[in-house]
Amino acid sequence: MSDETETLTRFAPDSGTEVALPVHTDLLRLATAGSVDDGKSTLVGRLLHDTKSVLADQLDAVHRASADRGLSTPDLSLLVDGLRAEREQGITIDVAYRYFATGKRTFVLADTPGHVQYTRNTVTGASTAQLAVLLVDARKGVVEQTRRHAAVLALLGVPRLVLAVNKIDMVDFDESVHTAIAQEFARHARALGYSDEDVVTVPVSALHGDNVVERSERTPWYEGPALLEHLETVPVAPDPHDVPFRLPVQYVIRPRTAEYPDYRGYAGQVAAGVVNEGDEVVVLPGGARSRVSMVDTPDGPAQSAAAGRSITVLLEDDLDIARGDVIVSADNQPSVTDEFDATVCWLAEKPLSPRAKVLIKHGTRTVQAMATELATRFDEQELSSVDAPERLELNEIGKVRFRTSESLPIDAYADSRRTGSFIVLDPSDGSTLAAGLIGVPLDPLASAVTR
């Protein structure tokens, strides 16, 4: 057997190797955004590579493929561009999800492409993100697309931003270049409603690794953390928590077995707030009242459960509750309405016209709906708001009034990401047409282009 095959198959770690594994780690969900050629795939590849999340066989494959393409150094973007067409064209087509962990934290990274369809992909990646890394090229600084990306991230309620000023090596590690970009972006972020502590700017070279995992000696003037250092230590911002308990019912659990003849539980993932045994609740849209007799979790009954947990709630009274209903705190209830305004990000080739009939999935309920009014559209090209547009096209964002066939219990997106959002579906083929944010004004987008 050759040495090469020996290393491929030998697997047991060196004896005595201490592997530091925390019992509990927290999870940071982040998204990346940037224009084409800002080096986003390279930065993500660098993060994976330098956190040792890339293993030898993957790296071998990249070395081979890079050599096949005539490159002298390995092209780390090949690690993340997963589809044949992406590798052939050297672009990222679709959102890719990447996973890496350090001793301090586990990361789920949504890597969103920067070219055409960037709104569609940025909206998708940002919808679950707690932090976004926005890239700019140090030679170009904050460009129009940076502003628009930041505006979309603000619209989607991503609580924290990092501006990575990439290719800092291409401007000779010049402090003044970095400072000018940081100041310009800070002004813009403030206009979008971010406070200064929620925005951090880091000078990096994704290609060479400066300030990605470790602070670089080549930027002695930079006193902040390296990118990964910041990602590891930044507090994970909770979703807005002004809204109390919300549980969209997914499924009714009725074992009807000898052991559990009368068990009737309402299963769902807590969308907001906390539920305690004994809490008074209301079931919407019907409005029936009851009390929580048991909070059942995957590990058995508990005193309480908080947002994010998948649980099963049992009530004191026998009520007619089905999938699509929402169990909420009796103290602070959402509005129940069949007409509402929403900011809509249109994600499909087929445009939205006024009076179009669509389906809306909100929580666990899918209802018929009509777009009764297209109030405004944010114009990508002219960078302005257009009143009463004729239609909303792919990648356009607009304010739309919907009327639904059944009343929905809704919160404002700004108060609750889960119960303030919905998706729009095509009734004919079932495809996903749009993302909707209830009651979000278009002001951030308007301010994004006027400053």
């Binding site: 999800y97 679950t128 074992p255 590990d299 908080a306 994010g308 079932g430 993302a435």
Partner: protein, 320 residues
């Protein structure tokens, strides 16, 4: 019904009452578990005939454990489907059957061997049957009119899989088109499909190999024994340690060794390699995986080494 009655329910769960206290901050494994359970319940609510792909391997065993937790104290409302290559490890089949009878589940088996016997498929020159699974899988889906098929695929396994949605629509030919995927926002999964189309659903999308093992440790999930170190006669081929079986044994030039090995993945015996390992317990395995320099597929799966886009091509055709 009393709280005690529910607590007593045997799900092989840790007894520690502290685990049933919902922490204010959801930790990594709790977050992944809740997400997977949410996905199972969405499918139960929106589809008529779901099925769980179940091979007896570690990912499908974890998948079944999550399904049991998602619907407890009621039984899992779906059957299981195993695409049997005929190149099985005997102990994995036994383990599969034990789990099925312990939880009183229904198992549907689609056999690659049947397709080879009646000539609809022919054996490949390399003897590997993993790529042959696609057609029997698609036929079983069609014949049983399954409309949602749960798989244990994870996005960290392979870069084409990194582009996969949690709810992944397949056309009436079972094909995946990576360029026409539906955007997936928040936790609002779109289950709409037309007659003849079906959905592949991946509750473990956001898990890594290490998360799976840490969850196995935390939940004390029993696995097929070959995931842990044991003595086995193996021979060396294509940089992997293979074992003899119905798929054939060592060629004349291949020497048989007795080694202490374990399996990191379990698939078609002809192309799934063992790794030399002293990891006898789940704690040992976690230490080993954390220190590993190779991915589980790179270390043990010949089928993924065929080309730069081997997985993407098989997925397009309708593979898992």
């Amino acid at each position: 019904m009393t709280t005690e009655a529910i607590m007593d329910q045997n799900l092989d769960l840790p007894e520690d009452p502290a685990t049933s206290e919902a922490p204010p901050q959801v930790d990594n494994l709790d977050a992944l578990e809740s997400e997977a359970i949410h996905i199972f319940r969405e499918v139960a609510g929106e589809f008529d005939r779901p099925v769980i792909l179940f091979s007896g391997g570690k990912d499908s065993t974890v998948l079944l454990h999550l399904a049991l937790k998602a619907f407890r104290p009621a039984p899992v409302p779906f059957p299981l489907l195993h695409v049997d290559t005929g190149h099985n490890f005997e102990e994995v089949l036994q383990f599969r059957d034990e789990l099925v009878s312990r939880h009183d589940l229904r198992l549907v088996v689609a056999r690659v061997q049947d397709w080879i016997d009646d000539g609809r498929l022919s054996e490949r020159p390399d003897g590997t049957r993993n790529p042959l699974q696609t057609q029997p899988l698609l036929e079983a889906i069609e014949q049983n009119r399954f409309d949602a098929v749960f798989g244990g695929g994870r996005r960290d396994e392979e870069r084409a899989r990194a582009k996969e949605r949690v709810f992944s629509l397949r056309d009436s030919f079972g094909q995946w088109d990576p360029r026409r995927q539906r955007p997936e926002l928040w936790n609002l999964y779109n289950g709409k499909h037309r007659a003849g189309e079906h959905m592949r659903v991946f509750p473990l999308s956001n898990w890594t190999e290490l998360d799976v093992w840490r969850y196995i440790q935390r939940e004390k999930i029993e696995l097929a024994k070959l995931y842990y170190a044991h003595r086995r006669e193996v021979f060396h081929r294509d940089g992997m340690w293979l074992t003899s079986g119905p798929w054939g044994g060592p060629r004349e030039d291949e020497e048989v060794h007795e080694k202490t090995v374990r399996y990191r993945t379990v698939g078609d015996g002809s192309c799934t390699g063992a790794v030399e390992s002293e990891a006898y317990t789940v704690d040992d395995v976690i230490a080993e995986v954390a220190a590993s320099h190779l991915t589980e597929r790179g270390a043990t799966r010949a089928d993924d080494r065929m080309s730069e886009a081997a997985m993407e091509d098989r997925k397009r055709e309708g593979y898992f």
